[in-house]
Structures are given as structure tokens and as C-alpha cells.
């Protein structure tokens, strides 16, 4: 199965690049020799993500200006919709009436349809160092600034909701619960995860108990995939690279994704953000954050469950370890116990030993 998914991605990549390269050449764009965003486990991400279509994310240079660029290109109908949707989100955010702060987006240098391809070319944002290579206090300050900017856009009125409904998605408490039920069903549907059923039932009870606070803090602009590989920092400015994951939902949905990510990548930052919310916001807000972390863990468990039939060998072992790791974190959140550093270290060691060299390379400059 792994080979089928991988081989089919590699074939797709080869065919598309053969057609795309002459088109890009005619647009005076040269592709880099190394293309990290289409290698490693990228094929697996594509195979399990149902919302996004097929697309290539490539690096290159404009021949006239020698400017480094990011190219998103696809011939796939769903992929085209995604590129166009992202473009609309980016444009709408700029003119959003009720946003107190705005987000920075890389400059769009070209948007065109040619040879059946939808092509979006954006300036590559050079950053002096990756987010995670910066000192933790700086990471904290940057993350907090970004979350506050997101919270500044609150769709509270009938008119706001009508305005955003056509562009961004919107989630209320009921939608979150229904969505969690789908994650839960997806995880329990795989025989290897039968033992997770009681944990997922406990998580569902927890979310039901917190339905009111989930609803209370709904209606905020939130980036549902706010993690370091989706933004770049230059000086004090943060550029969002992925605008397609923006929606109106619980204020803490983006926080939750980021904090869960930091459990694995920077525990000091994870704890700093949790302490900040506890010290400066209401107890209900802290509850909403915990509920959103539980929700997002349900989602990540479902994501890795979907990878199981498509992977084998070391990658299969790694995906099973991922499910085990994130479910342990879910358990610790539900029981209110500290998640041990040793569990994170052990998982990271295992992950690094199982990752392919191509994937390791892909990950290098990502965060």
C-alpha cells in the first residue's frame, strides 16, 4: 500500500513537473534543483488529506529579478479550488472591516492559468533563522502577538457572519462536537486502535461538558494550522504562508494546535503559553483552550489513523508510534496530569530513528 501511494505520488510529481517546467520557463521562472516540499512524507500527507486537492509546492527564481519565489501549481480541480480559495482568503483579510489588526502575506507576483495549470507565484520570505532556532522568550513574544492579532477579528454580528460565510468557514460548539465524532469514528474504525475507544469516549464527554465555553469563545478568526512551517518571521513581522486554514471558530483553536505542536518541539514554550492564559485570562478561557486541545488531538489521531493502511515497514511503525504518543497526551489532558518529558524524548528518539533521510531533509528548514 505504501508503495502504491508513494509510487503514485512520484509518478504524478514526475508527469506534472515535465508539463509545468516549460510553462514556468515561458513565464521566466527557473525551478531550484532541490525541491524539499514534494519529497519525504509529502505523498502521505496528500494521500490522507481529503479536503485539499493535488498540488505541487515548488521553489524557484524569477529570471529577470533573480527573486526567490514559491510556486503553487496544479491541474487538479480540487487543487485549483484550494489555490483560488486561499487567494480569496488573503484578499478578504486585507479588507476585512472588523479586524483590528492585519496579517502580512508574501507578495503575490503572479497568478495565472496556463496549459491547464493554475499557477500562483509568491515572493519567498527569507528568514534569518527558523522559528524554533530563536530563543524561547522571542518565540513566545512572536506567537502571542500573532494570536492577539487573530483574536482581534471577532465576527459577532449578523452582518459580520453574513460577510464572512461566503469566504471563510465558521464553526460553533455543535459543529466542533459533530466534527470530533467523525474523528472518533475514524480512529475507532481501525482495528489497531480498538483500545482507544474508552479514551475517545472520555474525550467526547469532556467536550460535551465544555460545550458552553466552546460556544462562548466562538466567532473569532483562527488559523487552524498555525505552526512554524506555515509562517515566517522577518524582524518583527510575521508572514502567514498558508491562508487556506483560516476560519472563524473558537478563539483557542489556533492556540491549541500550536501548543500541542510545542509539546513535541519546545516544551518551555508550551508551558509559557499555558501559564500566560492561566495568569491573564478568565478560567473559562483556560477551559476553552483545554477543550480545543482535546479536539485537535482527536483530529491528529484521525489523521495518523488514515496513514496506517497507506504505510508499511518503518513508516508504519512510526505512524503507530505517533498514534500512541498523541493518545498519551490526550489522556494526560483529560486526567489533568503533567505529560512527562521522558515520553516526549522517547518518542522523538524513535521518530528520528524511523524517519527516512529524504523526510529528515524535508523537515530541516521547515520549522
Amino acid at each position: 500500500m505504501e508503495h502504491n501511494a508513494q509510487e503514485s505520488w512520484e509518478l504524478y510529481r514526475k508527469q506534472e513537473l515535465a508539463l509545468l517546467e516549460p510553462i514556468l520557463e515561458s513565464l521566466r521562472i527557473t525551478l531550484d534543483a532541490e525541491q524539499p516540499h514534494i519529497g519525504g512524507e509529502r505523498y502521505l500527507m496528500h494521500a490522507v488529506t481529503t479536503v485539499s486537492g493535488k498540488k505541487l509546492i515548488l521553489l524557484g527564481r524569477m529570471q529577470d529579478s533573480d527573486k526567490r519565489v514559491v510556486i503553487k501549481a496544479t491541474r487538479d480541480a480540487a487543487g485549483k479550488r484550494e489555490i483560488i480559495h486561499e487567494r480569496e482568503c488573503r484578499a478578504f483579510l486585507k479588507q476585512i472591516r472588523f479586524a483590528y489588526d492585519t496579517f502580512f502575506a508574501p507578495e503575490e507576483l503572479l497568478f495565472t492559468e496556463s496549459g491547464g495549470f493554475c499557477i500562483s507565484v509568491q515572493a519567498y520570505i527569507e528568514q534569518p533563522s527558523t522559528f524554533l532556532a530563536r530563543p524561547t522568550p522571542m518565540q513566545f513574544a512572536l506567537a502571542l502577538k500573532a494570536f492577539k492579532a487573530q483574536e482581534g477579528a471577532h465576527a459577532t454580528t449578523y452582518e459580520h457572519l453574513r460577510q464572512i460565510r461566503t469566504i471563510f468557514g465558521s464553526m460553533n460548539a455543535r459543529a466542533y462536537l459533530a466534527s470530533f465524532d467523525r474523528f472518533s469514528e475514524c480512529v475507532r474504525g481501525h482495528e489497531a486502535n480498538a483500545h482507544l475507544a474508552p479514551l475517545l469516549a472520555q474525550a467526547r464527554t469532556f467536550l460535551t461538558r465544555n460545550e458552553r465555553v466552546i460556544e462562548q469563545y466562538a466567532g473569532f478568526l483562527t488559523h487552524t494550522d498555525f505552526v512554524p512551517h506555515n509562517f515566517r518571521v522577518v524582524g518583527e513581522t510575521m508572514y502567514l504562508l498558508d491562508h487556506s486554514s483560516i476560519r472563524f471558530g473558537n478563539k483557542y483553536e489556533g492556540w491549541a494546535r500550536f501548543i500541542n505542536f510545542m509539546t513535541l518541539y519546545n516544551r518551555e514554550l508550551e508551558q509559557a503559553l499555558l501559564t500566560y492564559v492561566r495568569d491573564n485570562r478568565t478560567p473559562e478561557e483556560y477551559e476553552a483552550l483545554t477543550a480545543m486541545r482535546v479536539y485537535r488531538l482527536g483530529e491528529i489521531l484521525c489523521y495518523y489513523t488514515k496513514t496506517l493502511p497507506k504505510s508499511q515497514g518503518a513508516l508504519r511503525t512510526l505512524n503507530e508510534a505517533r498514534i500512541s504518543f498523541w493518545s498519551s497526551l490526550l489522556e494526560s489532558l483529560l486526567t489533568g496530569t503533567d505529560f512527562p518529558d521522558a515520553a516526549v524524548e522517547e518518542y522523538r528518539r524513535l521518530r528520528d530513528s524511523l524517519r527516512s533521510s529524504e523526510e529528515k531533509k524535508r523537515q530541516q528548514e521547515l520549522h
Binding site: Y100, P137, F140, T156, Y158, Q216, G219, D279, T282
Partner: protein, 175 residues
Amino acid sequence: MRIVLATPLYPPDTAPQARYVKELAERLRKEHEVTIVAYAHIPEAVSGVRIVAVDKIKPIPIRLTLYTLALYRALRSADLVYAVNGPSVELPLFLLSFMRMSLVFGVVDSSAHERMKENFFTRLVHRTVRRHAHAVVTAMPPERPEILPFAAPPDTTAYEQAWKTHLADTFTYGT
């Protein structure tokens, strides 16, 4: 004293005026009976304070009517009303101007104040409410200093002093 706080913004809304009204209620409730009449879906609770919320997720005419009715009921037994500026509060106040009320008008939302100037009707409503007010407040105390993980604990002396002065200046009227 029975005090009504009428506001277009209230937490979970994140605008500074929203947090200001909540902080005001928390401080006033120690000595007064406080009711907040706010536009909010699910407002943040304040212990000992009654909150009447009008959901914003309704078309303008409906939410304005509901807010006017809620404000009317609250004002019947109030000694003082403190209203934060904004057309969605000013219009109900304008419609209820036949009622006897001690009104303190907080013109603390500068962006709403600027938007008001763009329209003849909202200008007229604002002027009428302002004329009707016994006192006009134009400044809020600063926001509460945040406790940040990688920094020294904030000095809240100036913040507390600003609130003390603000309460003394604003709510000595009628006492």
C-alpha cells in the same frame, strides 16, 4: 446605588472597551448593585453582577428593539446609568430619553465616535444623548498590565491608582 452599565462591547469581545466595562463592573459591585446590559452571545460572568445580554447574531432592527426593551426594564429601577458610546447603545438611549435617568456618558470608544460623525442621523442621536447626560467621561484607565512568563512581575501601582481616580471622578455623581 443601583447602577446600570449599558455597553455595545463586552467580553468575550476583545476590544479594550469590553474589558473596561467588565473591570468597571467588578470594581463597582463591591459597593453597588450593578446590572450590565450588553450586546453579547454568551457574556463572561461577573460574580454578583446581573448581566442582560442581547445576542448580536440577529439582524440590526431586531437586536436594537430587544436592546431598547432590555435597557428600558433595567432603567426603571436604576439610580444611575453609565453608557458607553456607540450607535447601538446611543439609539436605544435616545428612544428612552423620555425616562428620568441620571446618565453618565462614556465617550471612550474613539473609533465608534469617528464613525458616528459620518452620518447625519447618528450625529443627531449622539448630540441628543450627550445633551441629556449629567456627566461625560472621555478617558478609560489603562489596560491591566499583563503577567508575562519571561519578564518580571508587572508593577500595578499606576494601574490601581488610575482606576481609583477614574471611579472617584465618574461615580461620585449622585452619591
